[in-house]
Symmetry: C2
Subunit: 531 residues, 2 copies
């Protein structure tokens, strides 16, 4: 009996997540992770025992939080992977494509982006210091990688030990130097926290800001769903401000005012303003004048400014270089004295693209020392960020310098990645704009295009009948026709009645034209089907 | 003005956390991270701007949560480090010791425990696959390390890519095989989640279980403060059950009943029972008969069993081998059908001791598929556990096998660490038991001793006058006299009127006798002072 029930349980679990089952997904709504339940099966496994932990008695905000980037579409895609495995192993044609192309998430090395050689050499040496003693090592690795590893080990000690809760002191100093050089203003190592990727850092700050539904956080619409998911999880209120799609996803002060005032009228206290620059999913970059207005708005309204700057190296437009909010605040000087700001950065994006390392940091600015102590405490409960991720942060902010053995190779690798991303961004935007009913702002930054798709009324109708968001309906069909996995705009938020999807432009230079062609063919067929 | 205010801010921050200041700490209570505020300074930095985020308007449960393992004592110790630096650099005697000995946390590699060679070789190769192409590599690394790295890379792809939210599929399979072999019962890879250390896993499950103060979690007293901190952070209720110190920290069913019934009377629903086996901070191991009773208690009361088994390789008593709760549940069979359990494991403990890698896993058992989907969603919001940590989990559960090139070295390294820990555990317990008014159960497992110290009434009185817990008063004096950093029992919980401290037995074999002698000398002087 027990063995039997275990087997049933496994199958249900497959339907829920990891996915070796070939049954089609059955979630009820966009971005929902909750599989349709088979009550018969559940009750047959435990005839006499009522489960203690159920959907009905668990923390309700866990259930209501949604995270579309790894939502329904990805779970479907993972199921298709096992069908593709069968197709390959059994030599029978089950699907009209050979592979899943994951454009749902900014994960460049999954799509064959090569890691920066110097970074990996140094990490390997730090991980296995016996390599440094090998008489062969100078034939394998360049001298500066060896020297860097020795220097890092001298300050870190051992990658197997917990570091301090805030991070390794020497890495904090490296980050501060990087910020100083970037902005031309001093930075204090003691105001920096290293974290397992930027997501953890964002969550830590939001945790402090949110007490209950009466605390609101201003977030862009569209936004990266880490923000909406976390605000919901912590029981706060999302205060959306719309980016102006017609003006290249511009951030406009009157719209911020509107959102702020709407919240106040509802009795909600706006506590912080989230800005993602360059934008995710929208790919725009802010100009310095706009940023100056935003900072002054925050100061005037006493909002903590949360500057998500993880795409700071992914800027493609010549005439709008990246400017940090720290610099803008410092430039404004006494005008915005006392402003509270936290900025976030990560090793996952840019040309580094080391997502799997989970490295990141946040810089506190103007945050009171006693609040900082609370952030320190929250960090200490998780003990410390992973040490390898911390080392990769150090390498990101302190790459090989001119005159060092690895400098040339580093520059070549960096530029190759950057220039290719730029080409692919343009290629994708052009391809999307050539489609009927599709418009796409050219990505100025980040790793994403966020095209608007004007869906035929019949498609919208059919989606609604199936209990789906219309753009999810489109994306599911795209996935099932082509293997290309994108995320519906409804997962990021959008103006009512508009539909979008987010796609990365990370498929390799060899692959991206094929991806564009497949999307175009699918789109034409979709439009014809619902005409 | 701005430059000036920044400087003031920095000094305040120092006092709050990282600690380069030589000023003595000024926290008001044990384990408190909140530095005494200088209102003058705060207001002088921002004459016209009222901070938006303050202690008074932040999430209140962040403020009330306490985590003593990195609490007041450690912050003091970090300040002493900079005094020691001055002592060394300026050649003047400022403190009666030369170094801080961190016995506050189970961080073996910080105290010079050598990592297992095979693990580090494989990780270095996975991190830098160009090494595999080097003609010199087989002169540097053994053949099985090279083969293992190739196999891992074939399944992982690239350490720089996000993995699936639940973890790398092949690592999940390795963990399942390990559990099967350990327990003699099948394990399902799809019920396993890899995590950034076990702490994250514990927090994820507690997040689901706690809605508000009416949800209670049974935790041992004394307990590891991850539990108390997290339950408080999530706004739940801690339901302590006392371990019986006189009976070797035994876990007794009547005491569980008492705690359960007390909660019910207060209108609190007990939802889960936390068991730490081997115990932290108490070092006891449970016998199988006791475990069987506990499991049946959980089943009868419909409690989710949370089995913290991170010290499963740290078992030192010959006649009480480690038995997993999974095995006990499976042995009981239909008697406890439907029971819900989550067990936790980590690469930070045992003889692996790779704390800095932040690798761990949890196995769900009997958890409903729809609740599992919610766990999956929570995991996906953080994207994925760090990939190197996942690889170290794989190596922990699948070390070199007999007949492979590294097997002999692996066994030698493993046994040397294990045997040394066992010797040090005994040595420390004997030394503590020889002190006036001190009793210490011999550690059967884990990495800690938790002696009871009977403090003279005068010492208790002085502590209370200073607003300190008496055991914190003792530990602070120990730190300031010897540089040895331990954690007061009050950070873990203890019966009223009893006092303890937790110390690891991780100082090296060369160092531990010196540590014992210093503690003994300090203790004698302390007892004489307050007689």
């Amino acid at each position: 009996m027990l063995r039997h029930s275990t087997k049933l349980f496994v199958n249900l679990e497959r339907a829920a997540g990891l996915g070796a089952s070939s049954a089609s997904a059955s979630s009820a709504g966009t971005g929902s992770f909750i599989p349709k339940q088979s009550d018969t099966m559940t009750s047959s496994t435990t005839p006499s025992y009522q489960k203690s932990l159920t959907l009905d008695n668990m923390c309700p905000t866990v259930r209501t939080a949604q995270y579309a980037v790894r939502g329904e579409l990805v779970i479907r895609a993972e199921k298709l992977v096992s069908t593709l495995d069968r197709q390959k192993n059994e030599g029978i044609k089950l699907l009209p494509f050979e592979e899943i192309v994951y454009c749902n998430i900014g994960n460049p090395q999954q799509l064959k982006q090569k890691p920066l050689s110097f970074f990996r050499q140094v990490v390997a040496l730090c991980e296995c210091p016996e390599l440094l003693e090998s008489p062969h090592i100078d034939k394998i690795f360049p001298a500066d990688a060896i020297a860097r590893a020795r220097a890092l080990l001298a300050s870190v000690g051992n990658t197997g030990a917990y570091s301090g809760s805030q991070g390794i002191a020497s890495v904090l100093r490296s980050v501060a130097k990087f910020i100083e050089k970037r902005d031309g203003y001093p930075a204090d190592p003691e105001s920096i926290f290293l974290t397992d990727g930027a997501s953890v850092a964002v969550q830590r700050i939001l945790r402090l800001l949110i007490r209950d539904r009466s605390d609101g956080i201003l977030i862009p619409i569209p936004q990266y769903p880490l923000y909406s998911a976390t605000i919901e999880l912590y029981g706060g209120s999302q205060l959306g401000y719309y980016l102006n799609e017609e003006a290249g996803w511009k951030m406009e002060i009157p719209e911020l005012e509107r959102s702020y005032n709407d919240a106040k009228e509802k009795g909600i206290t706006p506590r912080a303003l989230v800005i993602i620059n360059p934008g995710n999913p929208t790919g725009q970059t802010l100009d310095a004048a706009n940023m100056s207005d935003i900072v002054q708005f925050c100061h005037q309204k006493r909002l903590v400014l949360l500057a998500d700057e993880v795409y700071q190296e992914n800027v493609y437009s010549e005439n709008k270089p990246f400017v940090s909010f720290k610099k803008v605040v410092k430039d404004l000087g006494t005008k915005v004295e006392g402003l509270e700001m936290v900025s976030f950065h990560s090793v996952s994006k840019g040309f580094v693209g080391e997502c799997g390392k989970r490295g990141g940091y946040m810089e506190l600015f103007g945050i009171s020392p006693e609040v900082k102590s609370e952030i320190y405490k929250l960090s200490s409960i998780g003990l410390c960020p992973n040490v390898i991720g911390q080392l990769v942060v150090d390498l990101m902010v302190n790459p090989p310098q001119e005159g060092e053995a690895s400098h040339k190779q580093y520059i070549e690798e960096r530029d190759a990645i950057y220039n290719s991303l730029k080409r692919r961004a343009n290629l994708l935007a052009t391809a999307l704009n050539s489609l009927e009913g599709v418009t796409c702002n050219a990505p100025e930054g980040a790793m994403y295009a966020f095209p608007q798709i004007r869906l035929p009324p019949k498609a919208v109708e059919e989606a609604k009948q199936n209990g789906k968001q219309p753009d999810a309906h489109y994306c599911i069909q795209l996935l099932e026709a082509t293997g290309i996995c994108v995320v519906p705009g409804s997962g990021f938020g959008q103006r009512d009645g508009t539909y979008h999807f987010r796609t990365t432009f990370l498929p390799s230079e060899q692959a991206i034209e094929g991806v564009c062609k497949k999307v175009a063919d699918f789109h034409k067929a979709f439009m014809a089907k619902y005409k």
